[in-house]
């Protein structure tokens, strides 16, 4: 978007210029298709990227509509920073980022589509009823000193209180993010010496066995086998076990090795399930799990890592 285009667009007083019409027919399909993509893309990452596309195209639309400052804010802050944050979190959460195609709520999908369509029709009808034939006043006058200056004037006069108020919002956001993620260190920082002492006193000076050792698979979710054929539960990282449990997948960790390897176990395994592999996801207190409603049977989760064991 060159300044030339902007100026020429700005000249279009009450009606869309031809350039704007062309712009509309290019940008609107992109934005709309992108938006539809957001809601229909199976992968969350794709949805995020498509949303970024919508935001970019809207940024251009702002430029077309004489909102230069907003255009840059949209591109830099919104499409840039906010969408990056989204994608970052998506990647963080990414392991089950693809939605299942099976809709578990009865009639949710048709109703949602129907409502979306109906709502759009209502809005369009209402807006059309109200604005057909109205002329656009244009922003030449308001932008006479330049868009940024005009906005600044408004921002620091009429909307100054709201502007100051947003500081509260931003502090809340920072504080909130910290509350939910920052963990305060309790106790002194461990020195190397202390860690060494702890390890020796902990009963296992040697490193933990790696997962998959002597097992049929070397996946991270498969425990190593001890010489007696039992599973070495410590060999699987608790977070992996926890993740699998959290996703409702019966972890091979918790299973008798016999069922994993289809071999008779020579020794009765110790009851490790009760101790270390109790998934730490849930509260220590007795917790009332509500029975899942008939509409939502537990989702069949495609096992990716451990079923080939």
């Amino acid at each position: 978007m060159t300044s030339l285009t902007l100026n020429s667009l700005a000249l279009a007083a009450s009606h869309m210029s031809t350039a704007e019409t062309v712009g509309f027919w290019i940008l609107a399909p992109i934005a709309l298709l992108g938006a539809l993509g957001v809601i229909f893309a199976r992968s969350a990452v794709h949805a995020g990227l498509l949303l970024g596309l919508v935001m970019l195209s809207l940024g251009v639309v702002y430029g077309v509509q004489d909102a230069q400052f907003l255009m840059f804010v949209q591109l830099i802050v919104y499409a840039g920073a906010v969408m990056s944050l989204f994608l970052f979190v998506l990647m963080l959460v990414g392991i089950d980022s693809s939605d299942s195609l099976v809709e578990t709520l009865r009639a949710q999908r048709p109703l949602a589509l129907l409502l979306g369509l109906g709502f759009a029709v209502l809005l369009v009808a209402g807006i059309a009823d109200a604005t057909t034939g109205t002329t656009s006043a244009g922003l030449e006058e308001a932008n006479a000193d330049g868009n940024v200056l005009g906005l600044a004037k408004l921002l620091f006069t009429r909307y100054v209180f709201a502007f100051e108020l947003t500081s509260a919002l931003l502090i809340t956001a920072a504080l909130g993010a910290m509350v939910l993620t920052h963990r305060e260190k309790i106790g002194p920082k461990l020195t190397q010496k202390m860690m060494m002492q702890e390890r020796v006193r902990g009963g296992r000076p040697s490193p933990l066995p790696g997962p998959g050792v002597f097992a049929r698979s070397n996946a991270v979710g498969t425990p190593a086998l001890l010489p007696d054929g039992t599973a070495a539960s410590e060999s699987v990282s608790p977070s992996v076990a926890q993740t699998l449990a959290g996703r409702g997948v019966e972890s091979v960790v918790g299973r008798h090795p016999a069922t994993i390897d289809a071999q008779p176990a020579p020794v009765e395994p110790e009851s490790f399930e009760a101790e270390s592999f109790q998934p730490e996801t849930f509260e220590a207190e007795p917790f009332e799990w509500a029975p899942s409603s008939p509409e939502s049977p537990p989702e069949p989760e495609p096992a990716t890592t451990e079923e080939d064991a």
């Binding site: 100054v160 709201a162 509260a168 920052h182 509260e283 207190e285």
Partner: protein
């Protein structure tokens, strides 16, 4: 460049009446100080510092509101109204906020811990969490609560829709966070937070879209400007009515009117009970204040457009709230549905669209706020090994075991049911009388009928508490520290006093009545 500088010189410095804005600024300032406390005060003293700071700020702000009483002006370049209803609601919200802070500050109920989590970032049940000292508390909750309180004060005082929207977010964001900070039943708590957050953001989007359409219609988002535009306009006003409708969706969500109520029971149940109390009382009061201002200032002249819609919503709200509460088995959930039903009763007063409707609603809000905060405060006291015993069956025979607590709870329930000699009766009477005067008699009939249904489940709980045999392993009633005791006492006192002699406060609400334009 020089042109820009010259043009910048044109800007006259905005005038901001810091004195008249003092109550809000004190609260926000205290919240900021609270953030600094988190940064610089040693852990051992943080809790005391935060509680002291919060209470001091609230009391100071309340004094400020009292000093400002009677003013009738527009502040901060027209962004904030400083009139009777705004000050009345600010005072109410501050008092409710004080009670909520007291509840948040309670630490003697749960083995030294408060209702808030020790360390929100530590996974529930993890070693990191178990390593937390039992008396650790996420003290950031206090500045968060103060931010929310500031938002609640500004929300009904906002004189333009943009300020109102920002205030809405200022009050909502901290609450989303606070919802997820329960010490016990973290899963429920976090689920409540995520539900509240997503639906809240969803409703904010509707509010914003309405705002945008109204801006398109009126060319301004100032309520008085919108009112001017509605008067004598020849424009086709599809934008106006759609804008109003979508704006109302955002507001009705906050005050949990049907069909925008569905978050209420889940969030009330999942959130830590002091936060629930804060939400149930404060948010409702603030949201109704904002709704009143929007409808009475901005849309008074097009009331024939919004009244039919509000009629239907009010009826649906009363009926659904009362009927659904009947079969609830969790005390917090039941109170949540009761809060839905009360939103319906309050809407009746709003629909009256007259001076009595305004003052009656203001009175009802205050009465309801204190009653509900008291009721939730009592809920925090009834505990067993797993924390609060909120299942109704656990409350069986509580009246025999601890008659005082059960009696207070029964009294709150009676007030919620609107039994004479409680504040609930005076409030219902006020709004229903106003509605009849405003020509909404059928609405009042529905209101009375649903009150009868509602009375049924309140009384059911009372019967359960006093006329059933206590369970053998029933919950114990924890001895509260002076904090919770003060909150309960405040709730009881207001409920009794307003029930016995509501007149002074009704007069005050009537004096407060006119909105500034």
């Amino acid at each position: 460049m020089s042109a820009i500088v010259a043009a910048a010189g044109d800007i006259t410095a905005p005038s901001i009446e810091y004195g008249a804005l003092a109550p809000m600024l004190i609260v926000f300032g205290a919240a900021l100080l609270g953030v600094l406390v988190e940064a610089f005060v040693p852990v051992a003293h943080r809790f005391a510092a935060q509680v002291g700071l919060a209470i001091t700020a609230i009391v100071a702000a309340f004094v400020g509101v009292v000093v400002l009483a009677g003013s009738h002006s527009v502040l901060a370049e027209g962004a904030v109204a400083n009139d009777g209803p705004a000050l009345f609601i600010e005072g109410t919200v501050l008092a409710l906020g004080l009670a909520s802070i007291l509840l948040l500050a309670e630490r003697s109920l749960d083995a030294g811990g408060s209702a808030l989590v020790a360390q929100a970032a530590a996974l529930p049940g993890s070693a990191a969490e178990r390593a937390q000292p039992s008396d650790a508390v996420q003290t950031e909750a206090f500045p968060l609560a103060l931010f929310a309180l500031g938002g609640m004060m500004l929300f009904p005082a906002a004189n333009d829709l943009l300020t109102m929207f920002v205030a809405l977010e200022v009050l909502s964001l901290p609450l989303y966070l606070l919802c997820g900070l329960a010490r016990r039943r973290r899963l429920l708590s976090q689920e409540a937070a995520v539900k509240y957050f997503l639906l809240g953001a969803f409703s904010s989007a509707f509010f914003l879209y309405g705002l945008a359409l109204l801006y398109g219609y009126a060319g301004t988002v100032r309520l008085s400007g919108i009112a001017d535009a509605t008067r004598g306009s020849t424009k086709s006003d599809g934008l106006l009515v759609i804008g109003l409708a979508l704006l109302a969706v955002g507001l009705l969500f906050k005050l949990s009117a049907v069909p925008f109520h569905s978050w209420t029971p889940d969030v009330y149940q999942g959130a830590p009970t002091p936060v629930t109390a804060f939400m149930a009382a404060g948010t409702k009061v603030a949201a109704f204040g904002a709704l009143l201002r929007v409808l009475y200032v901005g849309f008074a002249d097009v009331r024939w457009d919004w009244r039919p819609m509000m009629w239907i919503i009010a009826i649906a709200t009363m009926v659904v709230g009362a009927v659904l509460a009947v079969t609830q088995t969790d005390i917090k959930r039941m109170l949540a549905y009761s809060s839905v039903a009360h939103a319906g009763f309050l809407l009746t007063g709003v629909i009256a669209a007259n001076k009595e409707g305004l003052s009656g609603t203001l009175f009802y809000l205050l009465a309801y706020g204190f009653t509900t905060i008291g009721a939730f405060a009592i809920v925090t006291l009834v505990r067993d090994a797993g924390g609060e015993a909120t299942h109704l069956s656990r409350w069986q025979g509580l009246g025999r075991r601890s008659p005082l607590v059960a009696g207070a709870f029964a009294f709150f329930l009676l007030a919620l049911a609107g039994i004479p000699l409680t504040s609930g009766f005076a409030g219902k009477f006020a709004v229903f009388a106003a509605a009849i005067k405003g020509g909404a008699t059928p609405l009042v009939v529905v209101g009375v009928l649903t009150s009868a249904i509602a009375a049924f489940f309140y009384v059911k709980v009372i019967v359960l508490m006093f006329f059933s045999e206590p369970a053998a392993d029933g919950p114990t009633v924890a001895i509260p520290s002076p904090f919770t005791a003060a909150a309960v006492a405040l709730g009881l006192a207001v409920t009794v006093v307003l029930g016995v002699m509501p007149q002074p406060l009704l007069d005050l609400a009537q004096q407060a009545a006119p909105f500034v334009r």
